[in-house]
């Protein structure tokens, strides 16, 4: 069955509980979905408890809508709930990996040469806080990117290999684990899979960026539930002249398509962490994150909220 479009609804809840009172706190949240050529935001709403004493938002250097808020009275917990409905359009129908340009030509075009035209995507060619340019990643990447191979083919092959070679293991890494450490461990979560793959492609000169978002977690009948679906998700985007940015999900070995909702893009996790902040006081803390992503009945034609099944309880 060919599905024309998908309408997905997300309920994302983050709760912090502190052992002592937090006196003041400042937070950045990157939780607002983007409108793109293939993603239309139908509804988005967020709520924060306690109510921030100051709130403001801005578009960052990557085009993400970032929320800044501060809490200036003592609190023992912080809860952020975001409810989103988007409509997704299939986007890879016309992609023929074998017909994409040779990766080495693309890599050469990102190198600076006086008088050559500027390629804005080169912003994503360099080292970033979590992803260094390293020889070990380069060597691993070159196994897929053999000389002259079409870029998309090489990238898909690299994705297959990472999926096969790396184990999905929650808690084996943390939010600030750099790519090369996850590479040595050969394990991690979606963030690590994505950052390793980005590191491999940047090390050979290809522009690659980090995408943060959600994954559908009520698989259509007969399909398995995708990995990483109960939390927020992350994948990779590689620039391919002629095709634009191609989104690949090495955690699930698929092209990101009708199951993937895009929130934000950046160089790595540190640019787009969903919620970060600095608190004064608070002692130790516990955090609970719950994400539910459901496909709506009737898909594109009738995204009525009434038709929406009740979200499942938090995991």
């Amino acid at each position: 069955v060919t599905i024309e479009k998908a309408v997905l609804s997300v309920s994302h809840r983050t709760t912090y509980r502190y052992s002592t009172y937090v006196e003041t706190a400042q937070h950045l949240a990157t939780i607002r979905p983007q409108n793109t050529a293939w993603q239309r935001v139908i509804a988005h709403e967020e709520s924060i408890e306690p109510v921030p004493s100051y709130i403001n938002s801005r578009v960052d250097a990557f085009g993400n809508d970032v929320l800044y808020f501060s809490l200036e009275s003592p609190h023992r917990s912080l809860q952020m709930i975001s409810e989103t409905t988007v409509e997704l359009t299939p986007r890879w129908a016309s992609l023929d990996p074998a017909a994409t340009p040779a990766w080495d030509t693309v890599a050469a075009s990102t190198r600076f040469c006086a008088g050559a035209p500027f390629v804005p995507e080169t912003e994503f060619c360099f080292a970033s806080p979590n992803i260094g340019l390293r020889q070990d990643l380069q060597e691993y990447g070159l196994v897929s990117f053999t000389p002259g191979r079409p870029l998309a083919e090489g990238a898909i092959d690299l994705m297959h290999r990472i999926y096969a070679d790396f184990k999905y293991r929650p808690l084996s890494t943390s939010y600030d684990t750099p790519a090369h450490q996850a590479f040595e461990l050969k394990s991690g979560v979606c963030q690590d899979f994505a950052q390793v793959m980005i590191g491999c492609m940047r090390a050979i000169g290809l522009p690659a960026r980090y995408v943060s978002g959600y994954l559908r977690n009520d698989p259509p009948p007969g399909q398995v539930k995708l990995i990483g679906a109960d939390a927020s998700h992350a994948w990779v985007s590689v620039f391919c002249p002629g095709s634009g940015w191609i989104d690949l999900d090495p955690t699930n070995d698929v092209l990101a398509d009708l199951d993937h909702i895009t929130l934000a893009i950046g160089r790595d996790y540190s640019d787009v962490s969903l919620l970060r902040g600095l608190i004064l006081g608070g002692g130790s803390h516990r955090v609970d994150v719950g994400v539910t992503v459901l496909g709506l009945e009737g898909d594109d034609s009738n995204p009525e909220p009434e038709a929406e099944p009740e979200p499942e309880p938090e995991p």
Binding site: T14, E23, T24, Q26, H27, L28, Y54, N56, R58, D60, A61, F62, Y68, S70, E72, R111, F112, C113, A114, G115, A116, P117, F118, V119, T122, E123, C125, F126, A127, G132, L133, R134, Q135, D136, S174, Y175, D176, H180, V189, C190, Q191, S212, A231, S232, H233, Y269, D271, S273, L274, L275, R276, G277, L278, I279, L280, G281, G282, H285, V287, V289
Partner: protein
């Protein structure tokens, strides 16, 4: 190395009929000689300098060197070097200034003004339209790949498009005599304070030359800097009444150049703050003060970019201000310089500047940069590798990680390029190659000899809000150590004053502020930051503690010496132990007079324990250093001298570690001297400080400490049943500094009730417990009124307690064992009261809550 065949300096010296043999060593071949021309004759500037100095002056140079060292010590000018276990190193300042004549300076000034304009234009373009990238004048790697390019700043335009207010340019002179630009500093350029301190000292040593040679003054430059910040602050006030509040943001006392931050803040008359002193509320910046929050409109920052805001930049920064960028973007604070200019400091940029200057300014560069090749451009890389055998290999950006190797791997000094070729090919962007630049040799006086040392001159420029740049006539010149290819204060270089000569009489303007308004006056005496409050309080406590411990030490040592110690030995051990004169691990008993004395003497110095006399003096100096702006110069100098003299004397006392013999006379004299110095310090606090809330905090600190110590003295004597023995009686009177008073009031009488009356009840005794406690309570009430926070009670519970201290009858009663139990109970209670008051003050007025960073993984 070859030797230049120019005439030595003796020729001139002979003409001046100098008795001391002043010799000038020839400079190494291939370097410009600042002192002599090609024929070996002194250059006109130096000829004039030495003529003015005359025979006598030349003979007095050694004395002048000592005088400089003395002033560096007296003014406590220091430079923290990370490698030195945190112990600040005295500032290295050399005698002879670096001389620049008027015509030469005019050229430099023009070139620096142009360079500063250019750097601001580059920053403005990169955070704005990025035409330099689009047109290919600037490689993407040098922006997008540089950690100094801050994406949080993208799109932000400061008032007037002025991202930089302060730019430092390092210059050196080529063998031809032409100047070349070696580097730019825009993030948080250092040296502005040291330059001024160098000037104050060296201009004093060579006062005649300074006047006669019409050296241009620095003060007008600093007033222009303040004027520029005030102007920026007005924009941030958005029409608000009053004058802007300017603060200098320092990483804190552990920073390399903390001395300079404190000095600059004092000289410019701005508040010195650390990140934790500031807080962001909504989209405004505030200083936490003793009396609540106070707006800050301008932040002159000395923090590196990445550490400025842990919310948006490095989350692990504990020295930044969470939310600062938010406030900056909202236009409610002027941050100077705007964070994010770090990328123009990259050495790789030099090669691209001629074209960029042409594109942005339509001008040719007035002065070239040192020849530099960025390896990321294949043509440049190949050219450099082909034409150079040896060169400096420097990282294009800081913190480059090369397969886990830190930038340290780049190696110091000249590198054989063949050895580097492979590594460069693997990661060309990360490498920049710079040719060895033989800088000019400037004269340095070293024990009757003048030697040439390679020199780097740092010059500063400041911008007004319209983008006009003024250049400081002078600067910060560093001389390299012998045979050192590069010049850095971290590696043993020294600094000299920089004299720009003029043919016109120079302006005698000192730092004159713009006319003050009544609002300025209203603000003037209000601000006591929470951290200043804490340091004031502790300066008082450490001062009092040093005084009490010194008295205790003198009393114990003189008892031990006069051989009447036997019966009192246990009491003294207990007192010494409780007051921290013995190290915490030391036994509390089993001493002989001799072993106690040895143990006490071994524990005097700074390094020994946290509560030794030396350590208290050091802590007093540190706390006072942070509030130096509130102390008179004499007051501050006495605090420092007390610490330095004591430290030196203790070192002299133990010529070899572990030797048990020491100079007893020297020790006695040292403690005597220290007592008088401490007396002078408490005198200055009583008499020389403005009696505002700052002073009350010092007073409270002193009195809290005094109550606790006096109560300890009294209780210990009572518990050891020494209050009624002649020795114990005498000991108490000495410890309470009350011997004379007692003798004049009760000649020849040794009775307990009059003793207790004098030490506890009598309100006029400056150390009597009741009097001290009562004065403390009054001060606490005043403090809480000054802070004006209705939420807190007036420490009233404590005040009530004072009444029981006046009941002499109860205090004199003894229990069945003959113990003054009531007296002991009162002492215990007093100690508990003041300790509670200290905690209360700390909780109310000081900011010490720790920030912690919080993140969640997706």
């Amino acid at each position: 190395l070859a030797v230049q065949t120019s005439l030595p300096f003796e020729e001139v010296a002979v003409r001046a009929k100098v008795s001391s043999p002043l010799r000038a060593l020839p400079v190494r071949e291939g370097h410009w000689d600042e002192l002599r021309d090609a024929s070996g004759q002194l250059r006109p500037t130096w000829r004039r300098f030495f003529d003015l100095l005359g025979d006598e002056g030349i003979a007095g140079l050694d004395h002048a060197v000592d005088s400089i060292a003395q002033q560096v010590r007296d003014n406590d000018i220091s430079y923290n070097v990370y490698a030195d276990n945190g112990e600040p190193r005295p500032w290295a300042l050399d005698l002879l200034p670096f001389l620049i004549d008027e015509a030469e300076w005019a050229k430099l000034e023009r070139a620096i003004r142009q360079r500063a304009t250019l750097l601001n234009a580059i920053v403005k373009d990169v955070y704005g339209p990025q035409t330099l990238l689009h047109k290919g004048f600037l490689p993407p790697a040098l922006v997008f790949g540089h950690p100094g390019y801050l994406r949080s700043v993208k799109g932000f335009v400061p008032p007037g498009g002025q991202y930089l207010q302060l730019v430092a340019v390092d210059l050196a002179r080529a063998p031809s005599g032409e100047w070349v630009i070696m580097a730019h500093r825009t993030e948080a350029p250092s040296g502005l304070g040291y330059a001024l301190e160098n000037r104050l000292i060296v201009a004093g040593v060579f006062a005649d030359q300074f006047r006669s040679m019409r050296v241009q003054r620095l003060a007008p430059f600093y007033s222009r800097l303040i004027a520029s910040l005030v102007e920026g602050g007005r924009a941030a006030m958005r029409g608000e009444e009053g004058s802007p509040h300017i603060a200098l943001l320092t990483p804190g006392p552990f920073s390399e150049t903390f001395f300079e931050h404190a000095f600059l803040a004092r000289y410019l008359g701005v508040t010195l703050v650390e990140g934790k002193d500031l807080t962001v509320r909504d989209d405004k910046l505030f200083l936490k003060t003793f009396a609540g929050l106070e707006r800050v409109h301008v932040l002159l920052r000395r923090l590196d970019d990445a550490f400025c805001d842990p919310v948006e930049l490095r989350a692990d920064s504990s020295i930044g201000v969470p939310g600062l960028l938010q406030v900056m973007r909202a236009g409610n604070v002027m941050v100077s310089n705007v964070p994010g200019s770090g990328f123009v400091e990259s050495p790789a940029l030099h090669g691209f500047l001629p074209a960029i200057s042409h594109s942005l300014l339509g001008e040719r560069l007035e002065l070239p940069s040192v020849p530099t090749w960025w390896c990321g451009e294949a043509a440049a890389r190949e050219a450099a590798l082909e034409s150079l055998d040896e060169a400096f290999v420097i990282p294009t950006w800081p913190g480059v990680e090369m397969n886990g190797r830190s930038p340290r791997g780049f190696g110091d000094g000249l590198q054989p390029l063949a050895k580097w070729e492979k590594r460069i090919e693997a990661m060309p962007d990360a490498f920049t190659i710079q040719e060895l630049f033989p800088g000019s040799h400037a004269p340095r006086y070293e024990e009757s000899t003048i030697a040439g040392r390679s020199s780097v001159l740092r010059v500063y420029a400041i911008a007004d809000m319209e983008g006009g740049w003024s250049v400081m006539p002078g600067g910060f010149t560093r001389l390299g150590a012998e045979r050192q290819p590069s010049v850095s204060m971290q590696y043993g270089s020294s600094s000299v004053d920089t004299w720009v000569l003029s043919s016109h009489p120079s302006s005698t303007l000192s730092l004159l502020p713009t006319p003050m308004t009544p609002d300025d006056l209203a603000r003037k005496h209000r601000t006591v930051s929470s951290r200043a409050a804490e340091n004031l309080f502790w300066a008082g406590r450490y001062g009092e503690r040093a005084e009490n411990n010194t008295r205790l030490m003198r009393v114990i040592l003189s008892s031990l010496e006069s051989n009447d110690a036997e019966g009192l030995l246990d009491t003294m051990v207990d007192l010494a132990w409780q007051c921290g004169l013995l190290p915490p691990g030391a036994p509390r008993g089993g001493y002989t007079s001799a072993s106690l004395e040895r143990m006490l003497v071994a524990n005097l110095g700074e390094g020994s324990t946290a509560s030794s006399i030396g350590q208290n003096l050091a802590s007093q100096a540190r706390a006072s250093g942070e509030i130096r702006g509130r102390l008179s110069t004499d007051h501050w100098r006495t605090i420092l001298t007390a610490r330095n003299d004591f430290r030196d004397a203790i070192q002299a006392l133990h010529p070899v570690r572990g030797i048990e013999r020491y100079d007893r006379v020297l020790l006695t004299r040292t403690l005597e001297t220290l007592s008088s110095q401490l007396l002078a310090i408490s005198g200055a606090q009583g008499d020389r400080m403005t009696r505002d809330e700052a002073w009350r905090l010092v007073f409270a600190g002193r009195h809290i400490e005094r109550v606790a110590t006096m109560a300890t003295f009294l209780r210990t004597a009572v518990k050891h049943r020494q209050i009624a023995t002649p020795g114990g009686f005498d000991l108490l009177l000495q410890l309470f500094d009350s011997t004379l008073t007692y003798r004049s009031l009760y000649p020849g009488r040794f009775e307990v009730p009059p003793l207790i009356d004098l030490l506890v009840v009598e309100p006029t005794n400056p150390r009597g417990l009741y009097g001290v406690y009562k004065r403390l309570c009054r001060k606490l009430v005043e403090i809480s009124q000054a802070a004006g926070r209705g939420a807190h009670s007036d420490f009233s519970e404590a005040t009530l307690y004072a009444a029981s201290l006046r009941n002499l009858g109860a205090l004199c009663t003894t229990d069945a064992d003959g113990m003054h139990a009531e007296l002991v109970a009162v002492c215990d209670e007093l100690e508990a009261q003041v300790s509670a008051a200290a905690h209360e003050i700390s909780a109310r007025y000081f900011s010490h809550a720790k920030t912690q960073s919080l993140q969640v993984s997706s």
